[in-house]
Amino acid sequence: MDFVMESEDKGTLTLKGELTIARAKKIQEFLVTTLQQPMDLVIRLSEVTNLDIACIQILFSVIEKVVSTGHQVFVEAEKNDVVLRNLELAGFRKKLRC
């Protein structure tokens, strides 16, 4: 699995595979399109295999955007040691609320 983005239903966003700078542009475009309407959001990262700072910045920006409209956002990354470790290392674990 290289990289997959899914918006299963309204308010749920699932990202899978490599979330790195090589895919950052595509991820940004997808998210800008998907998040046109203000809504509560669940971001699922459980099947992400790598996450770098370029993509962490994008996720942070998504959260800021959702929160600024008065909605709530939840990031799911339970049991994904790679994601949690990289967020911890980058100092973003609390900022991404997981």
Binding site: I21, A24, K25, I27, Q28, L31, V32, L35, D52, I53, A54, Q57, I58, F60, S61, V62, E64, K65, N86, E88, L89, A90, G91, F92, K95
Partner: protein, 718 residues
């Protein structure tokens, strides 16, 4: 100064052990950066401390090896089997220099030079990093003259907390740098807390995803010096904004509070002193006031709070760690002396207790009982100090298995179990050689070549497993391989060929396997460096028996072989049952005793005639110890029988009189009695009488060939 040099040596020996273990783990996990970090840190510490205590040759050699490891750490040189072999050789070289107290005179010339040359060759092909080596000259001893001694960094030994402010250029991603790797490296140096300053991150649609908008404040607590911390940023420092400051030194002042929030912000230059003073006079929390007045933003306050919490947490962890893990290093000779003294105390206490009983003075008896209880407690406490986990021995064998399997072209992994099992220090030291022999044999004769294993449908990788577990007052150590197993027909044929048994001998499988321990027996067709000379297995047996233990073999053809060693926990003091046989006193180890029973004269006569007694309606092998040791039988109406568990078999041994339980301080019988195997030592009783400690295993084995004469009396006559 000698004391400090000795401390360095002790520490260096430990670090070399750690280095070897980390290298062996790294060979199996070459991508694991944490293991590279462990190897690097061990080498770095040896270098720094070596230089500090005048072991210049060690420091200089280690510096060269460390240079290569640094290149590996940076991901510019892959971990290969060749690299591991060379660093292991470096470890051996450093160990030899340490043994020689830093002198190079006794060390083969050119050894160190060869290692360094080969390490350089690993880096040189197609790598610019060969230029990172300092221009050094190697003399014929392998001594290295380092031009730039300043490059030898030293560990301060003091735990410091650094505040690292890293404001990278927006272009940092485009230069190929991943800041996560830097933070990972910092984390390997100690305990780090990373605070991301995200206030510069733009909205999603305005973001250039290839730019870095984040900056970081990192709080790192480590015992490494600043140059080591700065090294992490070696390749990014020029283009990016970096500052490293020591914000706290742990110098043992446990009650000194870390800075207040306002002080941290002033220290960082986020606010001025006057702004702080003005706000202190207000009643709100300082953080709230700072944000409310716009003197500092929330991110700055959060960062300062995290720093404060980090230092307080590290301080607390260090204090509680110091309290719970306080330990001191004690010279082993001092410990041995303590055990000897406790042994003497136990002996004199027994005499004291006996005297108290004779005096029939109630108060005297109470004192004697208290002394006895305290002596027992002191004995147990002292013996427990000498107990070491067998892990210290097991981990040494990783290298042996690696080197031998490479030499023989086999693929073998060593697994261990029960490393926490503790044995007396003396026992552990004396176990090393027998275990080396057995592991060598498992590798050479047990595990097949990868081709043969493949053809047999086995995994290419063979396994040698070392396990340890408690069994009463003994420890069982098993060496198991999943190799070809023992072929009893071939062993029998070889034993006949070597004249060890006659051609018509009919032996049970267990006895056939026991032939492996016969002097001069070898199954090897050719003599190798590893094994095959027929010396070793009989030495193993003798060594284990000298420890008061035994060795057994079990095997299944094509499945593998297990050697099981049964070893006493300690060699110094045992709990024993004091018995009288004829005119002499003997001690039977309590660990083998199940119970004591009595036989009538009639029952005893029957038992003696049949070598079997009736025990709760069941037949039980019986031996008259008096007849065995003195050649005479017991007399009297009643015979005392001590029922014991020996090699998984119950046996009853009769004695004249059971005197009671004692703590026996074991004394060696000396070389003159070395052939008297059924007596494992002697002890001195309270009244000064000598009692012999019998070895029930040996006696039961010798009893099989018992001819009515006492082997002991025969031996002493010779």
């Amino acid at each position: 100064m000698d004391q400090f040099r000795q401390s360095f040596k002790d520490e260096a020996y430990e670090l070399l052990g750690e280095l070897e273990n980390a290298l062996l783990e790294l060979e199996n996990n070459p991508q694991d950066l944490k293991l590279v970090g462990r190897v690097f840190r061990a080498m770095h510490t040896i270098k720094g401390s070596g230089s500090m205590f005048g072991f210049d040759a060690i420091a200089e050699f280690t510096h060269e090896v460390e240079t290569v490891l640094e290149i590996v750490r940076q991901g510019k040189l892959a971990v290969s089997s060749e690299l591991i072999s060379l660093v292991l050789l470096s470890r051996d070289y450093i160990l030899t220099m340490l043994d020689a107290d830093g002198s190079l005179e006794e060390i083969p010339k050119g050894w160190g030079v060869n290692i360094i040359t080969n390490l350089r060759n690993l880096v040189a092909p197609g790598s610019d990093d060969s230029t990172h080596f300092s221009t050094t000259d190697l003399d014929s001893h392998g001594e290295i003259e380092v031009e730039d001694q300043k490059s030898i960094k030293q560990m301060s030994g003091i735990v410091k907390t650094y505040r690292i402010v890293f404001r990278p250029s927006p272009e940092i991603f485009r230069s190929g740098c991943n800041p996560l790797h830097l933070f990972e490296e910092l984390d390997e140096l100690g305990e780090s807390t990373v605070i991301a300053r995200s206030e510069g991150i733009p909205s999603l649609d305005e973001m250039d995803v290839e730019s870095c908008y984040t900056s970081w404040d990192i709080i790192l607590t480590t015992d490494q010096d600043e140059s080591c911390v700065r090294d992490v940023f070696l390749f990014v420092e020029e283009e990016n904004n970096l500052s490293i400051d020591v914000v706290h030194k742990d110098i043992g002042e446990e009650n000194v509070e870390y800075k207040r929030l306002g002080e941290i912000l002033v220290d960082k230059g986020d606010i001025s002193k006057s702004e702080l003073q003005q706000l202190i006079n207000e009643t709100k929390m300082i953080g709230e006031k700072l944000v409310a007045t716009g003197v500092a933003d929330q991110a700055q306050v959060d960062s300062a709070l995290v720093e404060q919490q980090h230092v307080r947490k590290q301080k607390q962890a260090r204090i509680s760690g110091n309290q719970s893990k306080a330990s001191i290093r004690v010279d082993a000779e001092k410990l041995d002396r303590l055990v000897d003294l406790v042994g003497e105390l136990v002996t004199i206490q027994a005499r004291f207790s006996q005297k108290a009983k004779q005096e029939e003075d109630a108060e005297f008896n109470v004192i004697a009982e208290t002394v006895e209880a305290l002596t027992t407690e002191l004995r147990d406490a002292t013996m427990s100090i000498r107990m070491l986990p067998i892990a210290t021995t097991f981990t040494n064998f990783g290298r042996l298995v690696r080197d031998l399997s490479k030499e023989l072209g086999k693929k073998i992994i060593l697994t261990t179990e029960g490393e926490e099992t503790e044995l007396d220090k003396t026992v552990i030291e004396r176990l090393n050689d027998p275990l080396v022999h057995l592991i060598r044999n498992s590798i050479d004769h047990g595990i097949e070549s990868p081709e043969i294993r493949n053809a047999a449908g086995k995994p290419e990788m063979g396994t040698v497993k070392l396990s340890a577990s408690y069994s009463g007052a003994e420890v069982l150590i098993a060496i198991t391989d999943d190799g070809a197993g023992l072929n009893s027909e071939k062993i029998t044929a070889k034993a006949v060929e070597n004249g060890i048994i006659g051609p018509d001998a009919e032996l049970a499988e267990k006895d056939i396997f026991a032939l492996l321990f016969a002097p001069g027996f070898s199954m090897a067709k050719t003599v190798t460096d590893v094994s095959g000379r027929g010396v070793g297995m009989d030495v193993v047996k003798k060594s284990i028996e000298a420890l008061g233990g035994s060795v057994e073999v079990s095997s299944e053809l094509t499945k593998g072989t297990t050697f099981t060693l049964k070893i006493p926990l300690t060699l110094a003091i045992i709990d024993g049952l004091l018995v009288k046989i004829g005119q002499g006193f003997y001690v039977i180890p309590v660990s083998v005793i199940n119970e004591c029973v009595e036989l009538t004269r009639e029952e005893a006569d029957k038992a003696f005639a049949a070598n079997m007694m009736s025990f709760r309606g069941e037949p039980l092998p019986y031996l008259s110890l008096k007849a065995f040791l003195d050649g005479d039988r017991q007399t009297g109406d009643v015979e005392k029988v001590v029922v014991m568990d020996i090699l998984d078999t119950q046996i009853g041994m009769s004695v004249d009189h059971v005197a009671g339980q004692i703590q026996a301080v074991i004394k060696s019988l000396g070389t003159i009695y070395s052939e008297v195997t059924e007596i494992s030592g002697a002890t001195i009783l309270g009244d000064g009488t000598v009692a012999l400690i019998i070895d029930p295993v040996k006696i039961s084995q010798l009893a099989a060939n018992y001819n009515g004469k006492s082997p002991l009396s025969l031996a002493t006559k010779n």
